[in-house]
C-alpha cells in the first residue's frame, strides 16, 4: 500500500495545483509524489515559513494549494500564520508529520510531541489526524473545511498511518 500515492490522489480531487514544501523523513515520500506530478507546481523552500506566504499568494490568486512540512518546521511558521492568515481570514491547508508521539523513537522530537497541540489550541488552529489508511478519503472534506474555517488547518500524518504503508 502506497500511502503517499493515496494522499496524492486525494489532493488531486481537491484540485490542488500548487505545493510548497520542506521535507522531514516522514513526509518525504509524499513530497516526491507531488514533485513528480506535472499538474502541480512544486516550490521547494528554504524555511517552512515561506510556505505560508506562497500558499497565501496562491489562495489570493484563486489557486488551490498545500503546504507540506514536518512538525519542527510547523513550529517555525506560527508568527506568519498569525500575522497573515489569522489576521486576514485566509485559509491555508498544511500536511504535516505528527512527530513526538509514543511511536516516534527520536529524542529530538520529544518537545514537538509535548508542545504541538497546546500551541495549535492557543492559536485556535484546527487539525485532523489521519491514523489509518481508511481515513485518507476524508481529505477532500478536510480541505473544504479549511476553506470554510478561513484559517490555517493542519492535516497530521501519524506514524501508525505511515507504518500501515509498509505492510504489504
Amino acid at each position: 500500500m502506497d500511502i503517499a500515492a493515496l494522499i496524492h490522489a486525494e489532493l488531486t480531487k481537491c484540485r490542488v495545483t500548487l505545493a510548497a514544501s520542506l521535507p522531514d523523513d516522514w513526509v518525504a515520500p509524499l513530497i516526491r509524489r507531488v514533485d513528480a506530478d506535472p499538474a502541480i507546481t512544486h516550490v521547494r523552500v528554504a524555511r517552512e515559513s515561506e510556505t505560508i506566504g506562497i500558499c497565501t499568494g496562491a489562495f489570493l490568486a484563486g489557486t488551490n494549494s498545500v503546504a507540506i512540512m514536518g512538525t519542527t518546521g510547523l513550529h517555525c511558521t506560527v508568527g506568519e500564520m498569525m500575522a497573515i492568515n489569522l489576521r486576514h481570514g485566509i485559509p491555508l491547508f498544511i500536511i504535516c508529520s505528527l512527530r513526538g508521539t509514543p511511536e516516534d523513537y527520536q529524542i529530538y522530537q520529544e518537545q514537538q510531541g509535548r508542545r504541538t497541540f497546546p500551541m495549535l489550541n492557543a492559536y485556535d488552529i484546527p487539525y485532523v489526524i489521519l491514523e489509518k489508511p481508511d481515513d485518507i478519503p476524508r481529505i477532500p472534506d478536510v480541505y473544504n473545511h479549511c476553506r470554510l474555517q478561513k484559517r490555517p488547518y493542519l492535516l497530521f500524518l501519524s506514524r501508525r498511518l505511515l507504518k500501515a504503508g509498509q505492510v504489504q
Binding site: 505560508i52 490568486a61 484563486g62 489576521r87
Partner: protein, 203 residues
C-alpha cells in the same frame, strides 16, 4: 546622495500598468498607498519578510499577469533564504523591488539596519542565482532603466537605494485592513484576471 522615496514611488507608479502589487509592511506599503491609492495592491501590516513569498505564490498562479513585489531592506533580511526559493522558480512575470534606506524606518527614531552600509543585496541575489539583479542609486538611472525592467520577459530583482525619510507617518495611512484587505485585493484579481478566488457563498 541616494534617491528620495517619493521619486522612486513616482517612477514605479508611471510604469505599473496592470501589475498586481504586493507591498512589504512599513515604508513600502505606506509610500505606495500615498503615491497611488491602488487597490490592486496587497498592503502588509505584519508577516515581516514574507510579502515576497506571497508575491511569488501569486506570480506562479497567474503567469499571464505582471506581479510586482515592493519590498524593503528590513523585510528582505527577515527572509533572505527566500531569495533561493525565488531564484529557483524565477517566474518571468515577477519583478522584485527592494527599497533600501539602510534603517528601520518605522520607529519613532529610525535605527540602523543590521550590517548597515555593508550589505549588497543585489550581490546576494546574484549569488543565489538570479540573473537580473541590479542596484540603482540615481533617479535618472531609474527612470531610464524602469521601462526595460517593466517590459522584460524575465524575472528581475532591483535594489533601489533611497534616503531615510524625516516625516514618516506614525501609522499606516490606508483606511482598510484585515479581512477587508483580503476581499478588496482578491475581488480585484477576480475581475481583472478572471480567476475565481471565492465561491458563490463568499469563502
Amino acid at each position: 546622495m541616494n534617491m528620495e522615496i517619493r521619486e522612486v514611488m513616482s517612477v514605479l507608479k508611471q510604469h505599473r500598468g496592470d501589475a498586481i502589487v504586493v507591498c512589504a509592511l512599513g515604508t513600502a506599503s505606506s509610500q505606495w498607498w500615498n503615491a497611488t491609492r491602488c487597490e490592486e495592491t496587497l498592503y502588509m501590516t505584519g508577516g515581516m519578510g514574507f510579502s515576497a513569498s506571497i508575491a511569488l505564490g501569486i506570480a506562479l498562479s497567474i503567469p499571464e499577469a505582471p506581479v510586482w513585489e515592493i519590498n524593503c531592506d528590513g523585510s528582505l533580511c527577515m527572509n533572505l533564504g527566500g531569495l533561493l526559493t525565488e531564484a529557483q522558480q524565477a517566474p518571468k512575470n515577477l519583478k522584485h523591488f527592494v527599497i533600501d534606506n539602510e534603517v528601520y524606518q518605522t520607529l519613532d527614531r529610525p535605527m540602523p539596519m543590521v550590517n548597515q552600509h555593508h550589505s549588497d543585496y543585489a550581490g546576494i541575489a546574484r549569488a543565489a542565482g538570479m540573473r537580473n539583479a541590479i542596484t540603482i542609486n540615481r533617479v535618472e538611472d531609474f527612470k531610464q532603466k524602469m521601462q526595460e525592467i517593466a517590459a522584460a520577459p524575465e524575472h528581475y530583482f532591483t535594489v533601489l537605494k533611497v534616503e531615510p525619510m524625516r516625516d514618516y507617518p506614525p501609522v499606516p495611512p490606508y483606511d482598510y485592513e484585515g479581512h477587508e484587505m483580503k476581499y478588496r485585493f482578491a475581488r480585484n484579481l477576480e475581475k481583472k484576471w478572471g480567476r475565481q478566488v471565492f465561491g458563490p457563498r463568499g469563502y
